[in-house]
């Protein structure tokens, strides 16, 4: 199993993701510069968080036109796991690999805090090690995380079980207070129909080592373990 972590100009979570993959989980992973054409030989790809191209015009839109995205699209079509975290999620929606859009937070502020997430779908390549309804703790850090999709799109998302994570209270109930950015139906992460492309605003790589979490949470690690299909 060999994973590519794409580096765009302005990515800043690339090394964190790489560290979790190689140092915490012991799998092979490379940082791949976005202008270096090929992803052949990789079994999965991660678009990390950050501020690609300074969020100019709209978060993720310029990176979505980067040459590497043709390869990312190919891997998605082949059914390989494609994970977008935060800015990576924004890039996936801008490139059309995931439905919907990510808009500026309703509070108009950059929000950086730990949140509770409920697992809505545990049948994706990234969530199969969770149980449905399980509540996870992960941090968010973004200014454009307000998920939006039109009513028909929302209906389709639900029909195909594409809502993967929702922001909730610690006991798993949704509330106005627990929705940090005004996302429609508190959506924090969605997948494609096939379940091999996932985007989420929270940062699983920042919730993968107990020492880095105020509550000792390593809930994020299972996203990577699921993706890598690691046993144990």
């Amino acid at each position: 199993m060999r994973i590519a972590v794409i580096v765009f100009p302005g990515s800043n979570c690339d090394r964190d993701v790489h560290h979790v993959l190689t140092d915490v989980l012991g799998v092979e992973a490379d940082l791949v510069w976005h202008a270096d054409g090929s992803l052949s030989g990789y079994d999965g790809v991660i678009l990390p968080g950050g501020f690609s191209y300074g969020d100019y015009l709209r978060a993720g839109v310029i990176a979505a036109f980067s040459p590497i995205m043709r390869e990312v699209r190919r891997m998605a079509e082949e059914g390989k796991p494609v994970l977008g975290i935060c800015n990576g999620f924004q890039i996936l929606v801008e490139s059309g690999l995931l439905p919907g859009a990510l808009m500026r937070n309703t509070g108009l502020k950059f929000v950086c805090k730990w949140v509770n997430l409920r697992v809505e779908n545990n049948e994706t390549l990234f969530t199969r090690r969770y149980s449905r309804g399980q509540v996870l703790q992960m941090p968010i850090a973004h200014n454009e995380g307000r998920y939006y999709i039109d009513p028909e799109g929302l209906k389709e998302l639900k029909e195909h079980n594409q809502i993967v994570f929702r922001y909730t209270e610690p006991d798993g109930t949704p509330s106005e207070r627990s929705n940090p950015n005004g996302s429609l139906e508190a959506i924090a992460g969605v997948c494609n129909r096939r379940g091999n492309v996932l985007g989420l605003m929270p940062h699983p790589e920042r919730a993968s080592e107990a020492v880095l979490s105020p509550s000792g949470s390593t809930d994020g690690l299972e996203v990577f373990r699921s993706m890598l299909d690691l046993g144990g």
């Binding site: 036109f65 859009a101 808009m103 108009l108 939006y148 039109d150």
Partner: protein, 86 residues
């Protein structure tokens, strides 16, 4: 070939809330006495200079580019294009 100035305005679709516009109206304008203000929508303006043989061609080119390069996000935004002249 002549050049044309083209303004592209990108804003949220009317059905989608615009918190920035709401705050500007409520907390700046209305709270400070401009109670006549009944609506504000914040938008992004791109001032483009384009080479084209005439203004219709300039508009066509910019319009095609805006669609092709996702200058606006069709899921949530509308974009209006105005050619200001050479």
């Amino acid at each position: 070939m002549p050049t044309f100035k083209v303004n592209v305005v990108i804003e949220n679709k009317p059905t989608i809330r615009d918190p920035e516009g709401e705050v500007i109206m409520r907390d700046l304008m209305v709270k400070n006495g401009y109670t006549q203000i009944k609506g504000v929508r914040a938008a992004k303006l791109l001032k483009i200079v384009v080479e084209a043989s005439n203004s219709e061609e300039a508009k066509r080119l910019v319009s095609k580019m805006c669609d092709e390069l996702r200058i606006y996000n069709p899921v949530v935004s509308v974009c209006s294009i105005e050619v200001l002249g050479a």
